[in-house]
C-alpha cells in the first residue's frame, strides 16, 4: 500500500518534496513515481512541478501520466505545488499552452516593467523569496498556520481562477494574486511548502492527515 505518491514527470526537484513528506509523516510510505498504476493505488497524491509549463505538459504526456493525474484529482486528497497548481488550469500564457483543464481559469505572467514596491523600488521577476500568504477562507490545510505567515515562492506566472470562490489564499506582488486554490479534494499552492520551514512542514503535515473535504 502506497500512502503518498509524488508524481514524477521529470520536472523539478522531487526529492525535496519527498524528503519533507517523509519528515512530517515518518510512518507513511512515500513513493516518487511515474507509474500510473502506483498513482492510482496511492491514498493521496502530490503533484509538484518546476520549470516551464510547456515542458511540463510535454513531459507529463510523454510519460502517459495525464489520465492518472486527472483521475487522482477527481477523487483523492490531492496537493498541487507550483507548476502543479498552474497545470490544473485551462491555459497558460507561458508558451501559450493548454493545461489539464481541471480548474477553469488562466495562468498569467507578472508584468515586470510596471511593478514597484511601496518605496518605489523595482520588483523583480521571478517573484522569488518569502512572501506573506493570507488565507481567504478556513480550510483544514491551514490548521496551525497564522494569517500572513511567510512561504517561499519562486515563479513568474500566477493563476486566475474563473470562480473566485475557490481561492484559499493570496499574496501581494505588488497587487493581490491568488496563490492557493481549494475545491473538494484538491488543494494547490503556488509557493513551495517543502522549502518553507515550519509553516511549510505544518501544511504538509495537515495534508497527510486531511480527509479530502474542503467545504
Amino acid at each position: 500500500m502506497i500512502d503518498i505518491a509524488v508524481v514524477d514527470y521529470g520536472m523539478g526537484n522531487l526529492r525535496s518534496v519527498a524528503k519533507a513528506l517523509e519528515h512530517v509523516a515518518p510512518d507513511h510510505r512515500v513513493v516518487v513515481t511515474s507509474d500510473p498504476a502506483k498513482i492510482a493505488a496511492a491514498g493521496r497524491v502530490v503533484f509538484p512541478g518546476q520549470g516551464a509549463m510547456p515542458d511540463c505538459v510535454r513531459e507529463l504526456d510523454a510519460r502517459g501520466l495525464r489520465e492518472a493525474v486527472i483521475a487522482a484529482a477527481a477523487d483523492k486528497p490531492f496537493l498541487g505545488i507550483c507548476i502543479g497548481l498552474q497545470l490544473l488550469f485551462d491555459h497558460s500564457e507561458e508558451g501559450d499552452v493548454a493545461g489539464l483543464g481541471i480548474v477553469p481559469g488562466q495562468v498569467k505572467r507578472f508584468a515586470a516593467a510596471d511593478m514597484h514596491d511601496a518605496l518605489g523600488g523595482k520588483l523583480k521577476v521571478p517573484h522569488m523569496g518569502w512572501n506573506q500568504v493570507y488565507q481567504s477562507d478556513k480550510h483544514p490545510l491551514w490548521a496551525g498556520i497564522e494569517q500572513g505567515a511567510r512561504f517561499y515562492y519562486v515563479h513568474s506566472y500566477y493563476v486566475q481562477p474563473q470562480d473566485a470562490a475557490i481561492e484559499a489564499g493570496y499574496s501581494e506582488y505588488p497587487t493581490r494574486f491568488t496563490s492557493c486554490v481549494a475545491r473538494n479534494n484538491i488543494f494547490a499552492v503556488q509557493f513551495h511548502p517543502e522549502k518553507s520551514q515550519h509553516d511549510g512542514l505544518q501544511l504538509l503535515a495537515n495534508f497527510v492527515r486531511w480527509n479530502g473535504v474542503s467545504n
Binding site: 526529492r15 518569502w130 517561499y152 515563479h155 520551514q197
Partner: protein, 251 residues
Amino acid sequence: MLAKRIIPCLDVTDGRVVKGVNFLELRDAGDPVEIAKRYDDQGADELTFLDITASSDNRGLILGIIEQVASQVFIPLTVGGGVREVEDVRRLLNAGADKVSINTSAVLNPQLVADAAGRFGSQCIVVAIDAKQVGDHWEVFTHGGRKATGINAVDWARNMVALGAGELLVTSMDRDGTRVGFNLPLNRAISDAVDVPIIASGGVGNLMHLVEGVKEGGADAVLAASIFHYGEFTVRQAKEYMREHGIEVRL
C-alpha cells in the same frame, strides 16, 4: 510584502566548513550539517554552499553533505563551486540542492547556462559574477578573482539573464574579505540592468552594510559569511536590525 533575504554562505572543502584567517589560511569551522541547522534555527532565508575542494578526489563529498542537510533543513539550498557541465547540475539537484550556482564555467562556456536553464528551469540556475573595478567600469574575473576576462560585468549580467539565469550572485572582488561594505554602485548598476533578483556579496563587516546593500545597492538578497561564522551576529540579529531600518524581513 516580499521579504529581503539573508543568506549565510558556507565555504566547504574536503567535507568541512572552513573560514579564512586574515584572508589567507583556511581554518576548520565545523561540520556543515551542524552549521546549516544552526543558521536555519536562527532564521536564515536560504543557505549557500560553496565547494572550494581543490582535489577532484574529494569533490563528491559535497553531494553527501547536501543530502544530509536537505533531509533536515527545509529552506532553499544553493550549491556552487566546480560546476562544469549539465550533469554536475543534475547531480547537485538530485542530492537536494534547489539552485546551482555557476561561475567560471559560465564564462568558459556560456551555453552551459542556457542548457542547464533549458533542462531544469531558470528558477534553479544562479550565475555568480565576480567583478573588479577596472578603469571606469567593472570587469568580470574568474578562477576566484585571479583571471581577468575583459568582459564588462553589467553587459555580462544582461547576457546571462538572456541565456536563462534566474538569479545573479554579484561579488565585488575589490571588497571581498575587506569588511568595508558591499560595492554599492556595482550592485545598483546590475540590479537596474536586469529583471531577475540580485544577491549582493563581498565585503560585509557590520549590519549597516546589509541595510545599505538593499537600500542603496538595490539587492533583493544579501549574502554574508564571516559576520555569522565568527559569531559576531546571529542571522536573527541581522534581520531585526534590517527591520529597524525599514526593510521587510521574515522574522
